[in-house]
């Protein structure tokens, strides 16, 4: 298992390294994106403050940390389908799956590089936030944050695995990704607290794991909220994680079996 995961990691690192401009341009766009929110805060920050009072943070602090976190856990949601599609287009998916690699190991190996790179990007975000944009993260409750990260990562990875089942079977047209990309940002509290939304939309927000993730993150980071204060959010995330994780891996195994039966594994 370790040899196989390391093989994927080495392969993906070598491929990324061969695209020399990609990393530099990605890093540059990260900073410009954050600068936009910085100046929005400067322009409108006072108007947003009542909705942000419970988090103890101004708009820029809120959105910077939420966007950074969303980008990280979004790796889980997006990278399974993205990597699977890349393997399909290169013609390497069937050859890779011809090896006796269990589906759970394959899925872990497939996105290991994405997660490692996302962690690196998150560290850059954090350093930029602290040293360039002067964010105050001194109240952060680290154990609670770790729990939020872990449960959120598992929940989003599971959603990503569900999404990859569509890629495996239908190649293009991914309704799971469509929902994730179009609604999570709007309804999840990433760019503004969900309290800004009308009540009927807030009900939909409560169905999304990202809503609990962002809320728990912001409270743990800016107000130092611990396990007791975050029990509702952590329980919701735990339920999402414990339910979605085994279901998603089972669904992937079933999709793989169907693709082998239909003879479409090598198609794109």
């Amino acid at each position: 298992m370790i040899l196989q995961i390391l093989a994927f990691l080495r392969k993906d690192f070598l491929i990324e390294k061969s695209y020399k401009f990609s990393f530099i341009l990605g890093a540059a766009s990260t900073f410009t994106g954050m600068a936009v929110f910085f100046f929005i805060d400067k322009l409108f920050g006072r108007v947003m403050t009542p909705y942000l009072a419970e988090y103890g943070a101004g708009y820029f602090s809120y959105v910077f940390t939420a966007a950074a976190f969303f980008g990280y856990i979004g790796t889980g949601a997006g990278s399974y389908a993205e990597r699977l599609r890349a393997e399909q287009l290169q013609g390497t998916l069937e050859a890779s799956l011809a090896a006796p690699v269990p589906p759970a190991v394959f899925l872990t190996a497939l996105t290991a590089w994405n997660f490692i790179f996302a962690t690196f990007e998150l560290a850059i975000y954090a350093l930029a936030g602290i040293f360039i944009f002067k964010l105050d993260l001194s109240n952060a409750n680290v154990p609670a944050l770790a729990a939020v990260f872990l449960l959120s990562a598992v929940s989003f990875a599971s959603l990503g695995i569900f999404s990859s089942c569509f890629i495996l079977l239908f190649k293009r047209g991914n309704p799971a990704a469509w929902v994730l990309n179009n609604f999570e940002g709007l309804l999840g509290g990433v760019y503004f607290p969900i309290a800004v939304l009308p009540l009927w939309l807030q009900w939909f927000s409560k169905l999304l794991p990202v809503t609990y993730s962002i809320r728990a993150l912001e409270l743990a980071l800016h107000k130092g909220a611990g396990f007791a204060e975050l029990k509702v959010e952590l329980l919701a995330l735990a339920l999402f994680a414990l339910t979605l994780a085994p279901l998603s891996v089972t669904a992937f195994g079933a999709a793989l079996k169907k693709a082998r039966k239909d003879g479409t594994l090598g198609q794109y």
């Binding site: 392969k11 290169q90 006796p100 239909d262 090598g266």
Partner: protein, 227 residues
């Protein structure tokens, strides 16, 4: 390893809109009632017109495709896809199913690792295969997207031979090879079959190519083995 198939059948489902709702049309029959016996240490040829079902049979025997009917037995024990994938290797021609931006060597390291082979083991095996397959040392360091068709074909063969599988399925293995490399490959396959007891099924259109390598040749047509 003795490989036997009993009444093997495969119908590819239709791909219309109704298939989204589980309503499939008649589909395409690729294999029908195929009974086959591949003893260890032998090379069996397989020929037939385009669309006869040769590639489908090879893909089922290597565990990449699930049959709809029939069974496959390895040494007398019924085997599923997973068992076939772990014990059989397939080399397909005409497909560049490698990572184009990696070197040939890095591709072999990657696929070898998926089968539990260390870099040292892959290097050792590749060194042993280089001469019979006619793989130049320079070709191993080149990116796959810079390889010629023949070099890519040799890489595909090298990948299939990296691990010591019990069965080897070859789909037009010599198609893009020069005469010297084709001869080297034929000698290598005969040697491996004899020394390691490989059961080999070798699909090709060229009867002369099959005659040089195979003890017997089966003819497929319309999804069935004739005779």
């Amino acid at each position: 390893m003795l490989i036997e198939t009993f009444n093997l059948g495969k119908i590819y489902p239709s791909s219309g809109w109704l298939s989204l709702f589980g309503k499939n049309g008649p589909g395409t029959t690729a294999l029908s009632g195929v009974d086959l016996r591949l003893p260890p240490g032998t090379i069996t040829g397989l020929t037939g017109p385009n669309g006869a079902g040769k590639s489908t049979l090879l893909r089922i025997l290597s565990g990449r495709l699930t049959p709809d009917t029939g069974t496959i037995a390895l040494d007398g024990t019924e085997a599923d896809d997973a068992a076939l994938r772990s014990r059989a290797a397939l080399a397909e021609t005409g497909t560049r199913n490698f990572y184009p931006r990696l070197s040939a060597a890095d591709n072999l390291y990657f696929f070898g690792a998926l089968y539990g082979l260390s870099r040292a083991a892959v290097r050792e095996r590749t060194d042993a295969l280089r001469e019979p397959l006619g793989i130049g040392r320079n070709d191993l360091e080149k990116r796959v997207d810079a390889l010629s068709e023949g070099a890519a074909q040799k890489l595909s063969l090298a990948r299939a031979l990296l691990r010591r599988a019990s069965a080897l399925f070859l789909d037009e293995p010599a198609r893009n090879l020069d005469l010297q490399s084709a001869a080297g490959f034929s000698a290598l396959i005969k040697d491996l079959a004899a020394k390691e007891g490989l059961a080999v099924l070798y699909a090709a259109h060229n009867p002369e190519e099959l005659a040089k390598v195979c003890r017997r040749v089966l003819v497929m047509e319309n999804g069935k083995i004739k005779g």
